[in-house]
Symmetry: C2
Subunit: 151 residues, 2 copies
């Protein structure tokens, strides 16, 4: 029985493992025990911001099988519309193709709706065509270019 909930500090090592177990993430993340203090600081910053929700998917024994971050973003455009933004979605390799990812995204969309968001948005790397098709099947429309600039 899989459930979705807000992440606790104790989930952090499992979340980092998920972020690192990924085509693009493996070169970007640092897996260590204890966890790198930069992750601790980032988790604390997410916790301190009432408009951020770090979430995990867990099985009946509490094992973390997925993670995502949902940001609630106030804005003036479109008569003051709030946006939900999904970031850092990862599903454990063992769970891919099981429908867990779809259910997790739908859970996040519900959370965004509960907070009054009228739009949910995310960007997906063009190097992940399967991910893009996955989101399109869930009703997301690739209407925008996602532009990034490293500092």
């Amino acid at each position: 029985m899989i459930s979705f909930r807000k992440a606790h500090r104790s989930d952090l090592p499992a979340i980092i493992d998920l972020l690192a177990d990924d085509m693009l993430g493996q070169s970007r993340e640092v897996v260590s025990d204890p966890v790198d203090p930069r992750y601790e600081q980032a988790f604390a910053a997410i916790e301190a911001d009432g408009n951020q929700l770090m979430a995990v998917a867990v099985d009946g024994e509490g094992k973390v099988l997925g993670c995502l971050q949902l940001s609630f973003i106030p804005g003036l455009s479109r008569t003051g519309m709030w946006r939900g933004q999904i970031e850092s979605v990862r599903i454990a390799a063992s769970q891919r193709g099981t429908g867990l990812g779809s259910r997790f995204i739908e859970w996040a969309v519900e959370k965004a709706a509960e907070r009054g968001c009228q739009l949910v948005q995310l960007t997906s790397d063009k190097a992940r065509p399967d991910a893009i098709r996955f989101y399109e099947k869930l009703g997301f429309i690739a209407s925008h270019e996602g532009l990034k600039r490293s500092l």
Copy 2:
């Protein structure tokens, strides 16, 4: 002499005018005097969130010539990297092509760097090819699809 600063409540009518004076915005915004209370609520929500910065470009007489919103987003990915996200960029029709937009974006990128962001991101509607080229000239790379789902 143009300068950039945090928006005040008194800038709100001018910001709404800018949002509405736009190919896509004209059907999405409501211009009225007094301003629609939904914009007041949204402005208050932005003000209340220390990770949001609504900014304006003003001339020497204080006339608002542009606006943008910058969000500072904490995250776990990439060893706990903060992102700066730019949204709702508008430049007054009279100022387009003057370089104001570039200077305003560079100002926002600096603000993001000052807050420790290592990446600045935004999405731009594929129906705005000029805007996409504008961001690419400023060093943004269209590496991602920008996916949206209306609720």
